[in-house]
Amino acid sequence: MADLTTDFIGIKSPNPFWLASAPPTDKEYNVRRAFEAGWGGVVWKTLGAEGPPVVNVNGPRYGAIYGADRRLMGLNNIELITDRPLETNLEEMARVKADYPDRALIASIMVPCDEASWKAILPRVMETGADGIELNFGCPHGMAERGMGSAVGQVPEYIEMVTRWCKQYYDRPVIVKLTPNITDIRGPAQAAKNGGADAVSLINTINSITSVDLDLFAPEPTIDGKGTHGGYCGPAVKPIALNMVAEIARDPNTHGLPISGIGGVTTWRDAAEFMVMGAGNVQVCTAAMTYGFKIVEEMKRGLSQWMDEKGYTSTSEFIGKGVPNVTDWQYLNLNYVTKARISQDDCIKCGRCFAACEDTSHQAIWMHEDRTFEVNDAECVACNLCVDVCPVENCITMEELAPGVVDPRTGREVSAEPGNWTQHPNNPSAQAAE
């Protein structure tokens, strides 16, 4: 079994699976259960400033998107930060950390955007023995209306300013949690780095309305006939999160800035993908909320098995390994030519590849009299749609045309030399070969 021990910005945890700041980490009871279940770390549910705590709605807080058989694909929430007194949370954090010294315990914080507020809370958090703090600049609902959460995360200058305060008044690692509700994730990441952040974590939830009640004509979750946008998370957001992680990891200005990957991590594979894209660890919420804390067991065993198969003995050996392979479109090899191939042995003759190609793509699949399906290489642009809609895994594959072979679609020989858009004759900005 591969060793899953992870060192993230100096914070050690027995595995890279942390629970994200969210309802599962709202109090001592839950967090103890999480640690007993084997989670490597916990980011405690976001603390607010001293004084009367925030209140939550007393109607539904969550809305959901389902796949087949009510598999939860996406979850949205309108819950705010912790609605328990600061003192209670701090006491509980101290007790839990003392009992689980080998686990990471991070305090998530969201207080008003003024220096005094941050200066006041940081020493209190320090006393708990927490391993670090995470600045909640991400929540897109409720708190943002009060100038906190994503209202800060959407203004890089604020991010930098608050991060700087935290680095000034707190001497343990500072993680800045980013909101995806912006146009370019690299700006906020750069600001966090400029402010001295030890790491960024992303993504927080995405602004969303999950569905509309067609009897009430109101968004869901519906509170007495009204609804509001909430934060979207779960498997559905993973592609968005992966891209944002990769963008930060590959940007020369932020490359090397440690990243805690968040967004739809549900299985060991999701975690491995985030880490290969540059995340030093991952944070999980929806999977735990869907299946319970035991879900971490599959993640640990799965990641360990994969590492054994790959010959990795430490997570550091593959973290960021895929970052060099994320590039701009303009650098993709246009001389790489593939064609779809349908395995007649595996085909169950549903015809979805045909419908997809004929109706919505390039009319490159023949449906023969005997209901067999065949790719017409002269039309196939290798778009991959047939592969994507085929219900049988690996029934349709993409086969690379060897150099020297003539692509019947273009009539041109496949070149052995790579060639991309920057060199293409159709590109007015193409540079002439030296």
Binding site: D69, C350, G351, V392
Partner: protein, 444 residues
Amino acid sequence: MNSPRTPGLAASRLDTTTLVDNFSDLHAPLDPHEAAVAADRCYFCHDAPCVTACPTDIDIPLFIRQISTGQPEASARTILEQNILGGMCARVCPTETLCEEACVRMTAEHKPVEIGRLQRYATDAVMRANSHPFTRAAETGKTVAVVGAGPAGLACAHRLAMHGHTVSLFDAKPKPGGLNEYGIAAYKSTEDFAAREVDWLMQIGGITLHTGRKLGEDFTLNELQTDFDAVFLGIGLGAVNALTCDGNDKGGVADAVSFIEDLRQAADLSKLTIGRDVVVIGGGMTAVDAAVQAKLLGAENVTISYRRTQAEMPASRYEQDLATAKGVRILSETMPKAIHGNGTATEIELEYTTSENGKLKGTGETLRLRADQVFRAIGQTFAAFDGPDLDHGKIAVTGAGRTSAKGVWAGGDCTKGEDLTVVAVADGRDAAEDIHATLMGTAQ
């Protein structure tokens, strides 16, 4: 009370609770969650093979998708547009040899989408609401006589009425429904479904039902041709093939179709007599229906004797498995040689068979089974009458059921094609469209 081991013919071999349980739904209806899970499995195939396999061309992927999007009533409309008896077909269609056999999930994992049960889920929703999704067009002033209120006649009558024609629907039996009412195993059509479906179908309006009126006895085809603008014959198969072995006339020997009919019409199953040792001769669905129901009534030993190999049985493999699961023994490659007994049957003598160049013959070896009841289920034939030309013993038709007689169409079991409810519905529907086109002068 009697028991399965009571000799001879006896009623109440099982207690009432067991009887009621035995004759409840063979397949319980899907609940909404089960239906959602089952519907999720449909791939929404292009030019779906299941549709091709359906004699009524129901748009199966569409109706299943409508179930998954939470609209079973709209789904039912999609079904009923093609097959007005979609509710009964969901119960009695041999889906395992039609749509479900063609389902691509059979290729993928030998487990088809449960199309039949989903169809029942959708059509039950409409039946429960007692809403009729179709309305009748303005009256055309044309009249059509539909003879036979079975699946073919009902489908034809409904479609004609929908187009605004005035339909007189005749049936020889006291109740409409044909084989749906009289010829299907009780556990496939529970809670008087056949009758409720007819009542529901009649909501279209424009159909007058005349029961107890038999063609050739109460009226003639000539009269109908004179009195109506068009005639549709959906008169089924009126006769049963005879068994030609010795002792065929002994007490306890009966037609399986009569047994099935009596059982379906019985108000109290505990009053029905059944033998201790029952032998059913034949290998089709009727044989299976009779054998299984004999067992469910409490017969101790039930045997199906079929003259060819089990693989050649007309009853589907699914039906065969149902029979054996209920405790019926299938004795293939045997044929009846004699029925023994003093006045009433006590034993049947069977001879083993073999096939030489496709021709069946006895091997000379025989065996005897105790048999106080023997059911003949060796097929039904068309009871010929002085009417349109015949082809292979059934009414000859061309196109959408046109017979040789002027203004007379026919469909269902009395014409060629598989003797299935769903085929009869397709025949009736298509003939109605052709009649409509002919009467309105738009026929090609």
